[in-house]
Protein backbone atom coordinates (compact mmCIF):
# COMPACT_ATOMS: atom_id res chain seq x y z
CA UNK A 1 0.00 0.00 0.00
CA UNK A 2 1.31 3.40 -0.93
CA UNK A 3 1.60 5.77 2.01
CA UNK A 4 0.42 8.84 0.16
CA UNK A 5 -0.63 9.12 -3.46
CA UNK A 6 -2.65 11.18 -5.86
CA UNK A 7 -4.21 9.72 -8.94
CA UNK A 8 -5.01 11.82 -12.03
CA UNK A 9 -5.52 14.93 -9.92
CA UNK A 10 -6.63 17.89 -12.07
CA UNK A 11 -7.74 21.46 -11.62
CA UNK A 12 -8.12 24.32 -14.09
CA UNK A 13 -8.61 28.03 -13.55
CA UNK A 14 -10.50 29.72 -16.35
CA UNK A 15 -9.26 27.31 -19.00
CA UNK A 16 -5.70 27.13 -17.71
CA UNK A 17 -4.85 23.67 -16.42
CA UNK A 18 -2.93 24.45 -13.25
CA UNK A 19 -2.65 20.82 -12.23
CA UNK A 20 -3.15 18.31 -15.01
CA UNK A 21 -3.63 14.60 -14.51
CA UNK A 22 -1.11 14.44 -11.67
CA UNK A 23 -0.31 10.99 -10.37
CA UNK A 24 2.22 11.22 -7.56
CA UNK A 25 3.35 8.77 -4.89
CA UNK A 26 5.49 9.27 -1.84
CA UNK A 27 6.82 6.85 0.71
CA UNK A 28 6.41 6.82 4.46
CA UNK A 29 9.36 8.02 6.51
CA UNK A 30 11.09 9.73 3.60
CA UNK A 31 11.71 13.35 2.69
CA UNK A 32 10.35 13.93 -0.79
CA UNK A 33 10.56 17.10 -2.83
CA UNK A 34 8.26 18.63 -5.39
CA UNK A 35 10.15 20.88 -7.78
CA UNK A 36 9.42 22.65 -11.02
CA UNK A 37 9.61 26.06 -12.72
CA UNK A 38 7.48 28.94 -11.41
CA UNK A 39 3.83 28.49 -12.17
CA UNK A 40 4.12 24.76 -12.70
CA UNK A 41 1.27 24.11 -10.27
CA UNK A 42 3.18 23.06 -7.15
CA UNK A 43 1.30 25.26 -4.70
CA UNK A 44 -2.00 24.46 -6.42
CA UNK A 45 -1.14 20.79 -5.95
CA UNK A 46 -0.66 21.36 -2.21
CA UNK A 47 -3.89 23.32 -2.07
CA UNK A 48 -5.74 20.46 -3.77
CA UNK A 49 -4.25 17.83 -1.51
CA UNK A 50 -5.11 19.73 1.67
CA UNK A 51 -8.64 20.60 0.61
CA UNK A 52 -8.04 24.36 0.34
CA UNK A 53 -9.43 24.18 -3.20
CA UNK A 54 -11.50 21.42 -4.74
CA UNK A 55 -10.23 19.24 -7.56
CA UNK A 56 -12.04 18.97 -10.89
CA UNK A 57 -11.10 15.30 -11.06
CA UNK A 58 -8.82 12.75 -9.46
CA UNK A 59 -8.14 11.03 -6.17
CA UNK A 60 -6.02 11.69 -3.12
CA UNK A 61 -5.17 8.69 -0.95
CA UNK A 62 -3.51 8.75 2.43
CA UNK A 63 -2.75 5.50 4.25
CA UNK A 64 -5.21 3.61 2.12
CA UNK A 65 -8.22 5.90 2.49
CA UNK A 66 -9.38 8.74 0.30
CA UNK A 67 -8.87 12.25 1.62
CA UNK A 68 -9.93 13.97 -1.59
CA UNK A 69 -12.97 16.19 -1.10
CA UNK A 70 -12.41 16.56 2.64
CA UNK A 71 -12.40 20.03 4.17
CA UNK A 72 -9.02 21.49 5.18
CA UNK A 73 -9.56 20.87 8.89
CA UNK A 74 -10.52 17.25 8.22
CA UNK A 75 -7.37 16.71 6.21
CA UNK A 76 -5.38 18.24 9.05
CA UNK A 77 -7.05 15.98 11.62
CA UNK A 78 -6.19 12.93 9.49
CA UNK A 79 -2.54 13.81 10.04
CA UNK A 80 -1.60 15.84 6.97
CA UNK A 81 -0.23 19.24 7.96
CA UNK A 82 1.08 22.05 5.79
CA UNK A 83 2.86 25.38 5.87
CA UNK A 84 2.43 28.23 3.41
CA UNK A 85 4.70 29.74 0.79
CA UNK A 86 4.46 33.16 2.36
CA UNK A 87 4.44 32.46 6.05
CA UNK A 88 1.02 32.77 7.58
CA UNK A 89 0.80 33.33 11.30
CA UNK A 90 -1.83 34.81 13.56
CA UNK A 91 -0.07 38.12 13.75
CA UNK A 92 -2.03 39.62 16.62
CA UNK A 93 -1.64 36.54 18.78
CA UNK A 94 1.48 35.94 20.83
CA UNK A 95 4.03 33.31 19.87
CA UNK A 96 2.72 31.00 22.59
CA UNK A 97 -0.91 31.53 21.54
CA UNK A 98 0.03 30.67 17.97
CA UNK A 99 1.32 27.38 19.31
CA UNK A 100 -2.00 26.68 21.03
CA UNK A 101 -4.23 26.98 17.96
CA UNK A 102 -3.54 23.64 16.22
CA UNK A 103 -5.94 20.84 17.03
CA UNK A 104 -4.68 17.28 17.62
CA UNK A 105 -7.96 15.56 18.29
CA UNK A 106 -11.43 16.96 17.95
CA UNK A 107 -13.55 16.53 21.04
CA UNK A 108 -15.54 18.53 23.53
CA UNK A 109 -13.21 17.88 26.42
CA UNK A 110 -10.19 18.61 24.25
CA UNK A 111 -11.58 21.95 23.16
CA UNK A 112 -12.76 23.12 26.56
CA UNK A 113 -9.59 22.32 28.41
CA UNK A 114 -7.36 25.08 29.63
CA UNK A 115 -4.93 25.87 26.84
CA UNK A 116 -3.14 28.77 28.46
CA UNK A 117 -2.13 27.08 31.69
CA UNK A 118 -2.40 23.35 31.14
CA UNK A 119 -0.50 20.52 29.56
CA UNK A 120 -0.98 22.10 26.11
CA UNK A 121 1.08 25.09 27.15
CA UNK A 122 3.75 22.81 28.57
CA UNK A 123 3.91 20.90 25.29
CA UNK A 124 4.09 24.20 23.41
CA UNK A 125 6.99 25.37 25.56
CA UNK A 126 8.91 22.19 24.72
CA UNK A 127 8.53 22.94 21.03
CA UNK A 128 9.41 26.61 21.44
CA UNK A 129 12.48 25.55 23.35
CA UNK A 130 13.44 23.21 20.54
CA UNK A 131 13.25 25.93 17.89
CA UNK A 132 14.81 28.53 20.14
CA UNK A 133 11.83 30.85 20.51
CA UNK A 134 11.25 30.41 24.25
CA UNK A 135 12.20 33.96 25.12
CA UNK A 136 9.76 35.35 22.58
CA UNK A 137 6.74 33.42 23.83
CA UNK A 138 4.92 36.59 24.95
CA UNK A 139 5.64 38.65 21.81
CA UNK A 140 3.00 39.18 19.14
CA UNK A 141 3.91 36.95 16.22
CA UNK A 142 4.02 40.02 13.96
CA UNK A 143 7.18 41.17 15.77
CA UNK A 144 9.23 38.14 14.74
CA UNK A 145 11.79 38.22 11.95
CA UNK A 146 10.86 36.30 8.83
CA UNK A 147 13.12 33.37 9.65
CA UNK A 148 11.68 33.16 13.16
CA UNK A 149 8.21 33.19 11.63
CA UNK A 150 9.13 30.19 9.49
CA UNK A 151 10.38 28.36 12.57
CA UNK A 152 7.24 29.24 14.50
CA UNK A 153 5.01 28.12 11.67
CA UNK A 154 6.70 24.73 11.56
CA UNK A 155 6.77 24.39 15.36
CA UNK A 156 3.09 25.25 15.68
CA UNK A 157 2.24 22.79 12.95
CA UNK A 158 4.08 20.09 14.92
CA UNK A 159 1.74 20.79 17.85
CA UNK A 160 -0.98 19.01 15.88
CA UNK A 161 1.32 15.97 15.59
CA UNK A 162 1.05 15.51 11.83
CA UNK A 163 2.37 12.33 10.23
CA UNK A 164 2.90 13.90 6.84
CA UNK A 165 4.05 17.49 6.57
CA UNK A 166 3.83 19.50 3.36
CA UNK A 167 6.25 22.42 3.40
CA UNK A 168 5.76 25.14 0.80
CA UNK A 169 9.15 26.76 0.23
CA UNK A 170 10.58 26.44 3.74
CA UNK A 171 13.81 28.16 2.64
CA UNK A 172 12.18 30.94 0.63
CA UNK A 173 13.32 34.40 1.67
CA UNK A 174 15.55 33.37 4.57
CA UNK A 175 19.31 33.62 4.92
CA UNK A 176 21.75 30.68 4.73
CA UNK A 177 22.15 30.42 8.50
CA UNK A 178 18.41 30.13 8.98
CA UNK A 179 18.16 27.66 6.09
CA UNK A 180 20.60 25.45 7.96
CA UNK A 181 18.48 25.65 11.09
CA UNK A 182 15.30 24.82 9.24
CA UNK A 183 16.78 21.93 7.27
CA UNK A 184 18.39 20.55 10.42
CA UNK A 185 15.03 20.62 12.11
CA UNK A 186 13.37 18.87 9.19
CA UNK A 187 16.01 16.17 9.26
CA UNK A 188 15.56 15.69 13.02
CA UNK A 189 11.80 15.48 12.77
CA UNK A 190 12.13 13.05 9.89
CA UNK A 191 14.41 10.79 11.91
CA UNK A 192 11.72 10.83 14.60
CA UNK A 193 9.18 9.49 12.12
CA UNK A 194 7.58 12.45 10.33
CA UNK A 195 7.26 12.15 6.55
CA UNK A 196 7.94 15.32 4.54
CA UNK A 197 6.90 16.53 1.12
CA UNK A 198 8.61 19.78 0.26
CA UNK A 199 8.14 22.38 -2.47
CA UNK A 200 11.44 24.18 -2.80
CA UNK A 201 13.42 26.20 -5.33
CA UNK A 202 16.75 25.99 -3.54
CA UNK A 203 18.27 23.12 -5.51
CA UNK A 204 21.35 22.45 -3.37
CA UNK A 205 19.01 22.13 -0.40
CA UNK A 206 16.69 19.78 -2.24
CA UNK A 207 19.57 17.61 -3.45
CA UNK A 208 21.06 17.52 0.02
CA UNK A 209 17.90 16.97 2.05
CA UNK A 210 15.60 14.82 -0.02
CA UNK A 211 15.42 11.11 -0.71
CA UNK A 212 13.04 11.40 -3.62
CA UNK A 213 12.13 14.16 -6.07
CA UNK A 214 9.03 14.76 -8.18
CA UNK A 215 9.27 17.32 -11.01
CA UNK A 216 6.26 19.29 -12.24
CA UNK A 217 6.03 21.17 -15.50
CA UNK A 218 2.85 22.98 -16.53
CA UNK A 219 0.87 21.03 -13.95
CA UNK A 220 2.11 17.65 -15.12
CA UNK A 221 4.57 15.39 -13.26
CA UNK A 222 7.33 14.87 -15.84
CA UNK A 223 9.95 13.03 -13.82
CA UNK A 224 10.55 11.33 -10.51
CA UNK A 225 13.42 9.57 -8.80
CA UNK A 226 16.41 10.09 -6.54
CA UNK A 227 18.14 13.51 -6.65
CA UNK A 228 20.98 12.04 -8.70
CA UNK A 229 18.64 10.65 -11.32
CA UNK A 230 16.67 13.88 -11.52
CA UNK A 231 19.79 16.00 -11.85
CA UNK A 232 20.70 14.28 -15.10
CA UNK A 233 17.22 13.83 -16.54
CA UNK A 234 17.07 15.67 -19.90
CA UNK A 235 13.32 16.37 -19.51
CA UNK A 236 14.00 18.21 -16.26
CA UNK A 237 16.81 20.25 -17.77
CA UNK A 238 14.55 21.04 -20.70
CA UNK A 239 11.73 22.16 -18.39
CA UNK A 240 14.00 24.51 -16.46
CA UNK A 241 16.05 25.86 -19.31
CA UNK A 242 13.79 25.55 -22.31
CA UNK A 243 10.91 27.47 -23.19
Amino acid sequence: MTYFSTYSLSRSFGGVRAVNDATVEIEQGKISALIGPNGSGKTTFFNLVTGMITADAGKVLFKGSSIGGLKPHQVALRGVGRTFQITRLFREMTVLENMLVPVRRFGVRELLKDAVGGSEAARAMLWLDRVGLTKLQGEPAANLSYGQQKLLELASLMMSEPELVLLDEPAGGVNPVMIQRISGLVRELNSEGTTFFIVEHNMPLVMDLCDHVVVFDAGIPIAKGTPDVIRDDPKVIEAYLGG
Binding site: F90, S145, Y146
Partner: protein, 346 residues
Protein backbone atom coordinates in the same frame (compact mmCIF):
# COMPACT_ATOMS: atom_id res chain seq x y z
CA UNK B 1 12.89 38.35 42.63
CA UNK B 2 11.74 41.88 42.18
CA UNK B 3 9.44 40.90 39.33
CA UNK B 4 8.04 38.07 41.48
CA UNK B 5 6.91 40.43 44.25
CA UNK B 6 5.66 42.89 41.66
CA UNK B 7 3.56 40.11 40.22
CA UNK B 8 2.17 39.25 43.65
CA UNK B 9 1.21 42.88 44.21
CA UNK B 10 -0.36 42.99 40.79
CA UNK B 11 -2.41 39.89 41.50
CA UNK B 12 -3.47 41.29 44.87
CA UNK B 13 -4.59 44.57 43.30
CA UNK B 14 -6.45 42.71 40.54
CA UNK B 15 -8.40 40.40 42.79
CA UNK B 16 -8.96 43.13 45.37
CA UNK B 17 -10.46 45.42 42.73
CA UNK B 18 -12.64 42.63 41.41
CA UNK B 19 -13.91 41.80 44.92
CA UNK B 20 -14.63 45.45 45.61
CA UNK B 21 -16.55 45.79 42.33
CA UNK B 22 -18.59 42.67 43.06
CA UNK B 23 -19.49 44.01 46.52
CA UNK B 24 -20.46 47.37 45.04
CA UNK B 25 -22.59 45.67 42.42
CA UNK B 26 -24.35 43.54 45.02
CA UNK B 27 -25.01 46.49 47.33
CA UNK B 28 -26.05 48.95 44.60
CA UNK B 29 -29.86 48.69 45.02
CA UNK B 30 -29.51 49.64 48.69
CA UNK B 31 -26.77 52.18 48.21
CA UNK B 32 -29.09 54.01 45.82
CA UNK B 33 -32.66 53.10 46.82
CA UNK B 34 -34.12 55.87 44.66
CA UNK B 35 -36.41 54.13 42.09
CA UNK B 36 -35.01 56.08 39.14
CA UNK B 37 -31.43 55.24 40.05
CA UNK B 38 -32.45 51.64 40.55
CA UNK B 39 -34.03 51.69 37.10
CA UNK B 40 -30.82 53.07 35.58
CA UNK B 41 -28.94 50.40 37.52
CA UNK B 42 -31.03 47.60 35.96
CA UNK B 43 -30.56 49.12 32.49
CA UNK B 44 -26.81 49.37 33.01
CA UNK B 45 -26.38 45.81 34.21
CA UNK B 46 -28.64 44.61 31.40
CA UNK B 47 -26.49 46.27 28.75
CA UNK B 48 -23.30 45.12 30.48
CA UNK B 49 -24.53 41.57 29.96
CA UNK B 50 -25.78 42.18 26.42
CA UNK B 51 -22.60 43.90 25.23
CA UNK B 52 -20.50 41.08 26.70
CA UNK B 53 -22.77 38.53 24.96
CA UNK B 54 -22.43 40.30 21.61
CA UNK B 55 -18.69 40.34 22.04
CA UNK B 56 -18.57 36.58 22.53
CA UNK B 57 -18.94 36.37 18.76
CA UNK B 58 -17.40 39.60 17.52
CA UNK B 59 -14.52 39.94 19.96
CA UNK B 60 -13.34 36.41 19.34
CA UNK B 61 -13.98 35.77 15.67
CA UNK B 62 -14.15 39.32 14.31
CA UNK B 63 -17.59 38.73 12.80
CA UNK B 64 -19.76 41.78 13.50
CA UNK B 65 -23.46 41.11 13.98
CA UNK B 66 -25.64 44.14 13.34
CA UNK B 67 -28.80 42.29 14.30
CA UNK B 68 -28.44 41.14 17.87
CA UNK B 69 -31.61 43.00 18.72
CA UNK B 70 -33.37 40.20 16.83
CA UNK B 71 -32.15 37.65 19.37
CA UNK B 72 -33.03 40.00 22.20
CA UNK B 73 -36.50 40.38 20.73
CA UNK B 74 -37.04 36.68 20.07
CA UNK B 75 -36.03 35.91 23.65
CA UNK B 76 -38.41 38.58 24.89
CA UNK B 77 -41.30 37.41 22.73
CA UNK B 78 -40.71 33.77 23.61
CA UNK B 79 -40.83 34.54 27.33
CA UNK B 80 -43.78 36.89 26.97
CA UNK B 81 -45.82 34.47 24.91
CA UNK B 82 -45.08 31.56 27.24
CA UNK B 83 -46.17 33.58 30.25
CA UNK B 84 -49.26 35.19 28.70
CA UNK B 85 -50.55 32.49 26.38
CA UNK B 86 -49.42 29.35 28.17
CA UNK B 87 -49.26 30.52 31.76
CA UNK B 88 -45.76 29.15 32.29
CA UNK B 89 -43.53 30.04 35.29
CA UNK B 90 -41.70 33.27 34.34
CA UNK B 91 -38.11 32.72 35.40
CA UNK B 92 -38.09 29.16 34.07
CA UNK B 93 -39.19 30.64 30.75
CA UNK B 94 -36.36 33.16 30.87
CA UNK B 95 -33.91 30.28 30.97
CA UNK B 96 -35.88 28.42 28.30
CA UNK B 97 -35.64 31.55 26.13
CA UNK B 98 -31.89 31.07 26.08
CA UNK B 99 -32.29 27.55 24.73
CA UNK B 100 -34.95 28.58 22.24
CA UNK B 101 -32.92 31.49 20.87
CA UNK B 102 -29.86 29.26 20.77
CA UNK B 103 -31.69 26.76 18.57
CA UNK B 104 -33.00 29.61 16.43
CA UNK B 105 -29.46 30.93 16.06
CA UNK B 106 -28.27 27.56 14.77
CA UNK B 107 -30.49 28.00 11.72
CA UNK B 108 -29.57 31.66 11.24
CA UNK B 109 -25.89 31.03 11.83
CA UNK B 110 -25.85 28.15 9.39
CA UNK B 111 -27.26 30.50 6.74
CA UNK B 112 -25.21 33.55 7.63
CA UNK B 113 -21.89 31.78 7.95
CA UNK B 114 -21.98 30.03 4.59
CA UNK B 115 -19.93 32.79 3.10
CA UNK B 116 -17.43 35.05 4.74
CA UNK B 117 -17.60 38.55 6.15
CA UNK B 118 -20.08 40.61 4.16
CA UNK B 119 -22.96 38.18 3.91
CA UNK B 120 -22.88 37.64 7.64
CA UNK B 121 -23.46 41.32 8.25
CA UNK B 122 -26.25 41.38 5.70
CA UNK B 123 -28.06 38.36 7.12
CA UNK B 124 -27.92 39.67 10.67
CA UNK B 125 -29.24 43.02 9.51
CA UNK B 126 -32.07 41.41 7.54
CA UNK B 127 -32.92 39.19 10.50
CA UNK B 128 -34.17 42.18 12.46
CA UNK B 129 -36.66 42.96 9.70
CA UNK B 130 -37.75 39.35 9.30
CA UNK B 131 -38.60 39.24 12.98
CA UNK B 132 -40.29 42.62 12.87
CA UNK B 133 -42.55 41.44 10.06
CA UNK B 134 -43.28 38.18 11.88
CA UNK B 135 -44.11 39.92 15.15
CA UNK B 136 -46.42 42.33 13.34
CA UNK B 137 -48.03 39.74 11.13
CA UNK B 138 -48.59 36.85 13.52
CA UNK B 139 -51.20 38.64 15.58
CA UNK B 140 -52.72 35.58 17.24
CA UNK B 141 -49.46 34.85 18.95
CA UNK B 142 -47.68 38.17 19.35
CA UNK B 143 -50.56 40.60 19.55
CA UNK B 144 -49.32 42.34 16.39
CA UNK B 145 -48.47 46.01 16.49
CA UNK B 146 -50.44 46.62 19.68
CA UNK B 147 -47.99 44.43 21.55
CA UNK B 148 -48.23 42.05 24.44
CA UNK B 149 -48.87 42.97 28.08
CA UNK B 150 -47.58 40.72 30.83
CA UNK B 151 -48.80 40.35 34.42
CA UNK B 152 -46.52 42.17 36.84
CA UNK B 153 -44.49 40.21 39.32
CA UNK B 154 -46.59 39.47 42.38
CA UNK B 155 -45.79 39.92 46.06
CA UNK B 156 -43.34 42.76 45.69
CA UNK B 157 -43.72 46.41 46.68
CA UNK B 158 -43.51 49.18 44.09
CA UNK B 159 -40.38 50.42 45.79
CA UNK B 160 -38.55 47.15 45.27
CA UNK B 161 -39.97 46.26 41.85
CA UNK B 162 -36.60 46.70 40.15
CA UNK B 163 -34.56 44.68 42.64
CA UNK B 164 -35.22 41.07 41.48
CA UNK B 165 -34.55 42.08 37.88
CA UNK B 166 -31.38 43.85 38.86
CA UNK B 167 -30.11 40.60 40.29
CA UNK B 168 -31.40 38.51 37.41
CA UNK B 169 -29.37 40.67 35.00
CA UNK B 170 -26.41 40.57 37.37
CA UNK B 171 -26.48 36.76 37.30
CA UNK B 172 -26.66 36.84 33.52
CA UNK B 173 -23.67 39.17 33.43
CA UNK B 174 -21.70 36.90 35.74
CA UNK B 175 -22.50 33.82 33.66
CA UNK B 176 -21.57 35.51 30.38
CA UNK B 177 -18.35 36.89 31.82
CA UNK B 178 -17.44 33.48 33.19
CA UNK B 179 -18.19 31.82 29.84
CA UNK B 180 -16.13 34.41 27.96
CA UNK B 181 -13.26 33.99 30.41
CA UNK B 182 -13.36 30.21 30.10
CA UNK B 183 -13.45 30.30 26.31
CA UNK B 184 -10.63 32.82 26.25
CA UNK B 185 -8.34 30.34 28.00
CA UNK B 186 -9.47 27.24 26.13
CA UNK B 187 -8.31 25.53 22.97
CA UNK B 188 -11.68 26.48 21.51
CA UNK B 189 -11.01 30.13 22.24
CA UNK B 190 -7.58 29.96 20.62
CA UNK B 191 -9.29 28.58 17.52
CA UNK B 192 -11.81 31.43 17.52
CA UNK B 193 -9.16 34.13 17.74
CA UNK B 194 -7.23 32.32 15.01
CA UNK B 195 -10.32 32.58 12.80
CA UNK B 196 -10.25 36.32 13.19
CA UNK B 197 -6.62 36.37 12.14
CA UNK B 198 -6.66 34.00 9.15
CA UNK B 199 -9.48 31.58 8.54
CA UNK B 200 -7.74 29.42 5.93
CA UNK B 201 -4.66 29.04 8.03
CA UNK B 202 -6.74 28.08 11.06
CA UNK B 203 -8.50 25.41 9.01
CA UNK B 204 -5.15 24.05 7.84
CA UNK B 205 -4.26 23.55 11.49
CA UNK B 206 -7.32 21.40 12.12
CA UNK B 207 -9.70 24.11 13.32
CA UNK B 208 -13.23 23.35 12.16
CA UNK B 209 -13.87 27.00 11.40
CA UNK B 210 -17.55 26.68 10.44
CA UNK B 211 -18.44 24.81 13.60
CA UNK B 212 -16.37 27.08 15.84
CA UNK B 213 -18.05 30.19 14.43
CA UNK B 214 -21.47 28.62 14.76
CA UNK B 215 -20.92 27.66 18.40
CA UNK B 216 -19.70 31.15 19.29
CA UNK B 217 -22.65 32.65 17.44
CA UNK B 218 -25.18 30.39 19.17
CA UNK B 219 -23.76 31.12 22.63
CA UNK B 220 -23.73 34.84 21.89
CA UNK B 221 -27.32 34.76 20.64
CA UNK B 222 -28.57 32.52 23.45
CA UNK B 223 -27.28 34.81 26.19
CA UNK B 224 -28.76 37.80 24.37
CA UNK B 225 -32.09 35.94 24.26
CA UNK B 226 -32.00 35.40 28.01
CA UNK B 227 -31.44 39.13 28.37
CA UNK B 228 -34.56 39.73 26.30
CA UNK B 229 -36.49 37.27 28.48
CA UNK B 230 -35.60 39.06 31.69
CA UNK B 231 -36.30 42.40 30.05
CA UNK B 232 -39.85 41.52 29.00
CA UNK B 233 -40.78 40.29 32.46
CA UNK B 234 -39.29 43.44 33.95
CA UNK B 235 -41.07 45.84 31.57
CA UNK B 236 -44.33 43.82 31.50
CA UNK B 237 -44.88 44.97 27.95
CA UNK B 238 -43.41 44.32 24.54
CA UNK B 239 -44.13 45.64 21.07
CA UNK B 240 -42.44 44.86 17.75
CA UNK B 241 -40.94 48.23 16.88
CA UNK B 242 -39.06 48.64 20.11
CA UNK B 243 -37.30 45.27 20.31
CA UNK B 244 -36.91 44.66 16.59
CA UNK B 245 -35.10 47.88 15.86
CA UNK B 246 -31.44 48.15 15.01
CA UNK B 247 -30.93 50.42 18.03
CA UNK B 248 -30.54 47.82 20.77
CA UNK B 249 -28.00 45.90 18.68
CA UNK B 250 -26.09 49.06 17.82
CA UNK B 251 -25.96 49.99 21.50
CA UNK B 252 -24.33 46.64 22.27
CA UNK B 253 -21.79 47.22 19.49
CA UNK B 254 -20.97 50.74 20.61
CA UNK B 255 -20.47 49.70 24.24
CA UNK B 256 -18.31 46.70 23.36
CA UNK B 257 -16.19 48.78 21.01
CA UNK B 258 -15.77 51.62 23.48
CA UNK B 259 -14.56 49.34 26.26
CA UNK B 260 -12.56 47.12 23.94
CA UNK B 261 -13.60 43.98 22.09
CA UNK B 262 -10.31 42.27 22.83
CA UNK B 263 -10.70 42.33 26.58
CA UNK B 264 -12.90 40.38 28.96
CA UNK B 265 -14.27 43.35 30.86
CA UNK B 266 -14.16 45.85 27.99
CA UNK B 267 -17.78 45.55 26.80
CA UNK B 268 -19.09 45.69 30.36
CA UNK B 269 -16.99 48.77 31.04
CA UNK B 270 -18.35 50.36 27.87
CA UNK B 271 -21.91 49.76 29.04
CA UNK B 272 -21.14 51.07 32.51
CA UNK B 273 -19.84 54.30 30.98
CA UNK B 274 -22.51 54.76 28.34
CA UNK B 275 -25.84 53.65 29.77
CA UNK B 276 -26.13 56.22 32.56
CA UNK B 277 -25.11 58.96 30.12
CA UNK B 278 -27.61 57.80 27.50
CA UNK B 279 -30.37 57.60 30.08
CA UNK B 280 -29.60 61.15 31.12
CA UNK B 281 -29.65 62.37 27.52
CA UNK B 282 -32.92 60.60 26.79
CA UNK B 283 -34.38 62.07 29.97
CA UNK B 284 -33.28 65.61 29.11
CA UNK B 285 -33.36 65.72 25.32
CA UNK B 286 -35.21 62.52 24.43
CA UNK B 287 -37.55 64.21 22.00
CA UNK B 288 -34.76 65.84 19.99
CA UNK B 289 -32.90 62.75 18.78
CA UNK B 290 -29.69 64.25 20.13
CA UNK B 291 -28.79 60.90 21.67
CA UNK B 292 -29.02 59.28 18.24
CA UNK B 293 -26.61 61.79 16.70
CA UNK B 294 -24.19 61.37 19.59
CA UNK B 295 -24.40 57.58 19.31
CA UNK B 296 -23.46 57.82 15.64
CA UNK B 297 -20.65 60.30 16.16
CA UNK B 298 -19.21 58.34 19.07
CA UNK B 299 -19.28 55.07 17.13
CA UNK B 300 -17.53 56.74 14.19
CA UNK B 301 -14.96 58.36 16.45
CA UNK B 302 -14.12 55.06 18.16
CA UNK B 303 -13.70 53.26 14.84
CA UNK B 304 -11.40 55.99 13.51
CA UNK B 305 -9.44 56.95 16.60
CA UNK B 306 -9.66 54.18 19.20
CA UNK B 307 -10.45 50.96 17.31
CA UNK B 308 -9.01 48.83 20.09
CA UNK B 309 -11.22 50.40 22.73
CA UNK B 310 -10.35 51.74 26.16
CA UNK B 311 -9.00 48.73 28.04
CA UNK B 312 -6.61 47.32 25.40
CA UNK B 313 -5.40 50.85 24.58
CA UNK B 314 -4.67 51.53 28.24
CA UNK B 315 -2.98 48.16 28.51
CA UNK B 316 -0.70 48.76 25.55
CA UNK B 317 0.08 52.27 26.74
CA UNK B 318 1.00 50.83 30.14
CA UNK B 319 3.14 48.15 28.50
CA UNK B 320 4.91 50.88 26.55
CA UNK B 321 5.62 52.87 29.68
CA UNK B 322 6.77 49.77 31.46
CA UNK B 323 9.20 48.70 28.75
CA UNK B 324 10.47 52.25 28.41
CA UNK B 325 11.18 52.49 32.13
CA UNK B 326 12.84 49.08 32.40
CA UNK B 327 15.16 49.71 29.48
CA UNK B 328 15.30 47.48 26.44
CA UNK B 329 13.07 44.50 27.04
CA UNK B 330 14.47 41.02 26.79
CA UNK B 331 12.27 40.28 23.81
CA UNK B 332 13.66 43.19 21.85
CA UNK B 333 17.24 42.19 22.57
CA UNK B 334 16.57 38.64 21.50
CA UNK B 335 14.86 39.64 18.26
CA UNK B 336 17.75 41.91 17.49
CA UNK B 337 20.47 39.26 17.81
CA UNK B 338 18.49 36.90 15.62
CA UNK B 339 18.01 39.67 13.10
CA UNK B 340 21.76 40.12 12.90
CA UNK B 341 22.20 36.41 12.25
CA UNK B 342 19.64 36.61 9.50
CA UNK B 343 20.95 39.72 7.86
CA UNK B 344 20.15 39.37 4.18
CA UNK B 345 17.14 37.21 4.95
CA UNK B 346 14.66 40.06 5.00
Amino acid sequence: MLSGSKEAIGRFVKWGTLLLLVCLALAYPWLFPNPYLRFVGVMTVMYMGLATSWNLMAGNTGYVSLGHSAFFGVGAYFTGIMIVRFDMPPFAMVAAAGVFVGLFAIVIGWLALRTRDASFVIVTLALVYIMLLLAQGWRGLTGGSSGLSLPRMEGIGREDAHVPFYFAFLILLAVVLFTTWWIGRSKFGMGLVAIRGDEDKAAALGVNTDLYKLIAFVLSAGFTGIGGGIYVYWFSYIEPFFVFSITIGVNMILMALLGGTRSLFGPALGALLLVPGTQYLIGEYGSTQLHVVLTGLLLGAIVMVLPMGIIPSLRSAAAHLWSASSGASSAATCTESDEVAEGVGR
